[in-house]
Symmetry: C2
Subunit: 243 residues, 2 copies
């Protein structure tokens, strides 16, 4: 039987909107990541199942595109499917649609599997074999996440990692990184109605108690970001662009 | 017809747990506040309906009690009811129960209605009359939120208010205040299995761009907190205690 995209339903809750009464970029991003976790869990290869084998999924890169941000209480769906298992990275895709079925956003993510003891990447070939029936033969709905090269920040701020930043792995959670970076932009930018694309590249995990530097290089229609975790180590790079 | 408590169903999602794989206090608190918003919205006196009359609900005080923190993917329900409309404050109550119906938490909140132009409190008597049928004659499930007197912080840190801190009213959102305060405690405390009670008193709204001071006075089995918004103004006071 040919695998199908899986559909998950959500509603924009009051705590997910900004003062324009539309969902924030991190709120939509959080729904996308939540969908990935729920879908993997439901299909038997979620983090909880992998942990039993001392393995875990780690997000390597993700690109989000939001053409518009839905209003408070709007119902929407996220369709998700895995299009490919490479040796190192698997590709999971997302399409966001409003209650009328109109597509308003999409995301493409690439995940590695690591061994929790060695923190090294695990060859994914066996997963591709074991879960071949979970692969849907539909290409990613947007350009693959872009590689982001050196960033030249004009503004840098510090962030000490606290309890509310960390996830079940004791690492800073993905959406907190995105919030830290976007928070460096003017509010007028973040509340704009223009379509936006956000590419994020995760290079190194950050831990409780570390002091991070968050640098921003401003461009005409967006910005580049780099989060450092000390002594020149780059933890995250990202690029955001409004159309 | 006698009004009944309203029931809302939730599940502990992966992004809501810490490394003990149980829901964080802010995650449970967020579900409680989300329930308040959803219930008021559904009954026609939510913030969205009030805004049409240039009014809004403002949370004045809240007390949470969590006997335990449910595990990832656990289903639970939040029952909510309004027990009283005073002239200035209405009382909304919450009981959290696990899938077997066992109560593991409760909350009592007091809300004022403000005029958005003057930011002054509105006499609630008319709401009590108009929505008398929404009152459920069941007393609050826990002691009312406590008044918290002067706090003598031994540690103070600063927090600049950014976009991801603010809500649809352009004020710092309730759960962010709670996160800022709890983040000053040792992680061993926050991940403890002991029953916890948290009382929070909101005195003044904080806005984008303000630099807040977060002070903590540590006690044997908990702490007192005070958030200041400059020049001696106190924005929030809180007390947390583990049993």
């Amino acid at each position: 039987m040919q695998a199908q995209k899986s559909l998950y339903s959500y509603r924009i809750e009051p705590q997910e909107v900004d003062f324009t009464l539309r969902a924030t970029i991190p709120a939509l991003g959080s729904a996308v990541l939540n969908t990935a976790g729920t879908d993997a869990h439901g299909k038997g290869f979620g983090v909880d199942a992998l942990n039993a084998d001392n393995h875990s999924w780690v997000l390597s890169r993700i690109a989000f595109e939001f053409d518009s941000r839905p209003a408070q209480y709007a119902d929407y769906t996220v369709a998700t499917w895995i299009s490919d298992y490479g040796r190192v990275l698997s590709t999971r895709n997302f399409v966001l649609s409003d209650a009328e079925g109109h597509e308003f956003g999409r995301a493409v993510s690439q995940w590695a599997m690591i061994d929790l003891a060695s923190r090294a990447a695990v060859d994914l070939s066996w997963v591709g074999d074991a879960h071949a029936d979970a692969i849907v033969d539909v290409p990613p709905p947007a350009a693959m996440p872009r590689k982001i090269r050196a960033v030249e920040p004009s503004v840098v701020c510090e962030h000490k990692v606290v309890y509310s930043d960390i996830d079940f792995n004791r690492h800073v959670n993905t959406m907190r990184y995105i919030e830290m970076m976007l928070d460096m932009l003017p509010v007028e930018r973040l509340t704009s109605e223009a379509p936006v694309r956000l590419d994020v590249h995760f290079l190194r995990e950050c831990r409780l108690g570390q002091t991070l530097t968050v640098g921003a290089e401003f461009r005409d229609e967006g910005a580049l970001f780099e989060i450092g975790s000390g002594e020149g180590a780059v933890a995250v790079r990202a690029a955001v662009e409004w159309k």
